[in-house]
């Protein structure tokens, strides 16, 4: 049951082979047994989950089930969910019970899905290893001495360890794709604006995008069908006709032109990762695709550009956490300035503070043009690189992350080394393009390797098609860590 696809689960529920309550309880039991060690969830609330499961069972009984009705989905703790503790991995929100639902949560609720719990994450989604969480690091289910990646590390670990049927993540610079790669699961960051950001706690507004994480591309398509959609409460949400992201899954890949950016296969790429990715490309050729060499000349600037723009937006987005209205407030203070300083000094962790400082600096009078404006200009060049590349190819492939999962604590003292683990994913966010990661083998220490697939704007269906055809021909995605 825990290895079943969403389609299979839905069929089981429809056939009354299992009820949503039973399925939910099965996962709750697994969480109770395995989560104390893995730390993938920050909050489980069986009462709320089972209430939703009972509603789902009634809906199924009434013959009004949709594709995800009754299926237990884990939600990254960045999404506000009514009645749920919503911490964003921070002490700052250690006591924040959301009074409202994020749009994405509302979409799942409307579809009759069960909210199984809130998954662990890097604090305010700032991190690539899940080690910045106030609630402690998540362990990689493939090797518990290693990181799961981040910031959606709790989600990736929960999917890998089969602690949920599927889950959500968010991706600002690689936060879905990198942990998906490091945990051997599939994850998709849609085109910016496809999923509403309403109720998703903001890190860097112009880059943040929600997306699904699951065991397969087919599951991702079903999840995205629920998550996507215009929302008038998010001014950057795109008003487009609804589409069925699963519509092209079965298409053969004959004639698909795959672009391989030379910059993604250069120095810095782990040998084991490179080999697994090349093997995947070979597989694609067998499936009928052709390969073209392309160049993304400005992609080398994406990490520095990102570490100007994302902290700039974050420094402002996180100003609302001031200890005045909700969340953490220092127990003792002498005046207003002291209230702010102490609440923020005690409520935020080191990485968050580092980024607030960087962001405040680059927006400061006298530095703004040199950093923020310049970074915006380079951002446009990076987007231009992609649009040039898509004149030569239909889809771009490469590694998701330069290495497989590293050891817990290994990069803790060196933020720049940590930032470089997103070197292949960040440019996609800067351009607003859709990107995904699917398992494509194993590297050193038998840790999973992720293949990154980048599409043109709104090409999610084509990317899912490419991923699904690969998953029909290979079984990397159905491998699960042992001993769980």
């Amino acid at each position: 049951m825990i290895n079943a696809s969403l389609k299979q689960l839905s069929a089981q529920l429809a056939a009354k082979k299992i009820s949503s309550v039973e399925l939910t309880q099965l996962y709750l039991d697994r969480i109770a047994a395995l989560n104390p060690d893995l730390n993938a969830y920050i909050t489980v609330n069986p009462e709320l989950s089972l209430a939703q499961a009972r509603e789902a069972d009634a809906r199924i009984a009434a013959g009004k089930a949709e594709a995800l009705t009754g299926i237990p989905i884990a939600q990254k703790d960045i999404f506000c969910a009514k009645g749920w503790l919503t911490t964003c991995g921070s002490k700052m929100l250690h006591n924040f019970v959301s009074p409202y639902d994020a749009h994405v949560i509302g979409q799942f609720n409307n579809a009759g899905a069960v909210n199984l719990g809130k998954t662990n994450m890097d604090e305010f989604a700032m991190g690539s290893s899940n080690e910045t969480s106030y609630y402690g690091p998540v362990k990689n289910p493939w090797d518990k001495t290693r990181v799961p990646g981040g910031s959606s590390g709790g989600t990736a670990a929960a999917v890998a360890a089969r602690l949920c049927a599927a889950a959500t993540g968010t991706d600002t610079g690689g936060s879905i794709r990198q942990p998906a790669a490091l945990c051997g699961v599939s994850g998709l960051k849609p085109t910016y604006g496809v999923c509403s950001r309403y109720g998703m706690i903001a890190f860097a507004s112009s880059l943040d995008q929600a997306g699904p994480m699951a065991k397969s591309a087919e599951d991702l398509a079903l999840l995205l069908n629920v998550m996507a959609g215009f929302d008038e409460r998010d001014s950057t949400s795109l008003q487009r006709e609804r589409e069925d992201y699963a519509r092209d899954l079965a298409k053969p890949l004959n004639g698909l032109r795959i672009g391989l950016p030379k910059e993604f296969f250069a120095e810095g790429l782990g040998n084991d990762v490179g080999l697994a990715v090349q093997a995947a490309i070979t597989e694609y050729k067998k499936l009928g695709a052709t390969v073209v060499d392309i160049s993304l000349p400005n992609s080398r600037l994406s990490v520095p550009v990102y570490y100007v723009l994302a902290p700039a937006e974050a420094s402002s987005n996180l100003s609302r956490f001031d200890g005045v209205r909700y969340g953490y407030r220092a127990p003792e203070y002498v005046d207003l300035a002291d209230l702010y300083e102490k609440s923020r000094a005690q409520g935020f962790g080191t990485e968050v503070k580092r980024r607030i400082l960087i962001g405040t600096y680059v927006l400061s009078h006298g530095y703004y043009d040199a950093y923020y404006i310049k970074a915006q200009k380079i951002r446009r060049l990076i987007a231009q690189d992609f649009s040039n590349a898509f004149k030569q190819c239909d889809i771009i492939m490469g590694p998701t992350s330069p290495s497989t999962a590293f050891k817990l604590g290994e990069k803790g003292d060196d933020p720049v080394q940590m930032y470089l683990s997103d070197i292949y994913t960040i440019a996609v966010n800067l351009a607003g393009l859709p990107g995904m990661s699917i398992p494509c083998g194993f590297g050193e220490n038998a840790m999973p390797v992720g293949l990154q697939i980048i599409g043109n704007y709104f090409d999610e269906a084509r990317m899912l098609n490419a991923a699904h055809q690969y998953q029909l021909a290979t079984d990397w995605h159905s491998r699960a860590p042992q001993g769980l």
Partner: protein, 482 residues
Amino acid sequence: MTWEIVIGLEVHAQLSTSSKIFCGASTAFGAEPNTQADAVSLALPGVLPVLNKGAVERAIRFGLATGAYIAPRSVFARKNYFYPDLPKGYQISQFDLPVVGNGQLVIQVPAQGNSPAYEKTVCLTRAHLEEDAGKSLHEDFHGMTGIDLNRAGTPLLEIVSEPDMRSAAEAVAYAKTLHSLVRWIGICDGNMQEGSFRCDANVSVHKSGTPFGTRREIKNLNSFRFLEQAINYEARWQIETLESGGTIRQATVLFDPDKGETRMMRTKEEAHDYRYFPDPDLLPLEISEEWKERVRATLPELPQARQARYVSELGLSVYDAGILTASREMADFFEAALNEAPGHAKMCANWLIGEISAQLNRDGLDIAQCPITPQQLGGMLKRIADNTISNSGAKEVFRTIWTEGGEADAIIEAKGLKQVSDSGAIEVLVDEIIAANADKVAEYRSGKDKLFGFFVGLAMKASKGKANPAQLNEILKRKLAG
């Protein structure tokens, strides 16, 4: 060389939308604290702003009414600073790309002492959309501060003038004209007590022919009187400081109306670095020609155009036309009354500027609260014009309408105020007076012209005040001539 005062004003006009600029919460004034603070007003984690099109439309109206440039693309920016009544830790405003730029406002500066009234054009640098902050309540909570976020997110149009004004009188005239205009075009209720229209004044002094001096900004002036007092005090203070060898440092100051003084709030060195940057939660604001034209079609005739029309079409003096167009309510009242008594614009203007304004003033009312409707006034004017009532009769009718209500015709009937316009009846009456006062008639005829008034008085008394004065004069004159 004499000192010259240089003034520029920044006015915050609260836009009259029923909901806030970036969310659906109500903007109504006076509700219980925090009852109009929804998730967006509270800046809960994850909420996002959505622009209220009504606020944009009002900005467009303002731009059109001041002949300004309306930017086809403007950008919302975040102004970052911490304050408890600023829930997001930043204010959404517009910075380098405002929605409105380069407007003009023609002001009438009233006569003062020996200097006559004059007209002046003040240039508007820009007008931009932004959200208001909430309120910190320091008085009601001992040792603590209460926060009321009802006002947080209320739409404001910040209207910035060039430093074009040279006296407090000009600044006040500008502020009053602007105040009248925003109400005229229906974008702001202008209620200064409730903070719907607030002025900041940038004041500097210099000697003519030399560069402008260093300015100090007086914050949050919420009446025209305070504006005038604050500028006069500040300019005098700056001149005295300079004349005694001091220098002016750029600063923000507050006006204390009780002491009539300005005092330092913060210097330039202490000013915040607001770290403006484009708000990534909002797309650039795009205003199409088509949208602009749609708004233009709903714009009322503007005060200046109306004033000109009253002069050219109705034959009013520029002065009278100016008073009648000082507010839209006054102008609309005038036109509605005139509609009842067509062709009597001058009489209508005289009554509005004279008797009605005086009564309103005495009762502390404005024209919108006038106890007499334009229809009631027009009904009375019609009866003056067709000689049904004399001026004294009209005053009686007016007093009655003001205090008791009713229509002119009914009052004239009930009080018997209809004047006698039957020339036969008046002739009989005059004949009787001439017969009864032969001695006085003789005196008159021998050249004592002043006695004419005596005969008028007698005749009026005899007619119980109802004789048509013009007719009476004519008949008396003829009969007395013999």
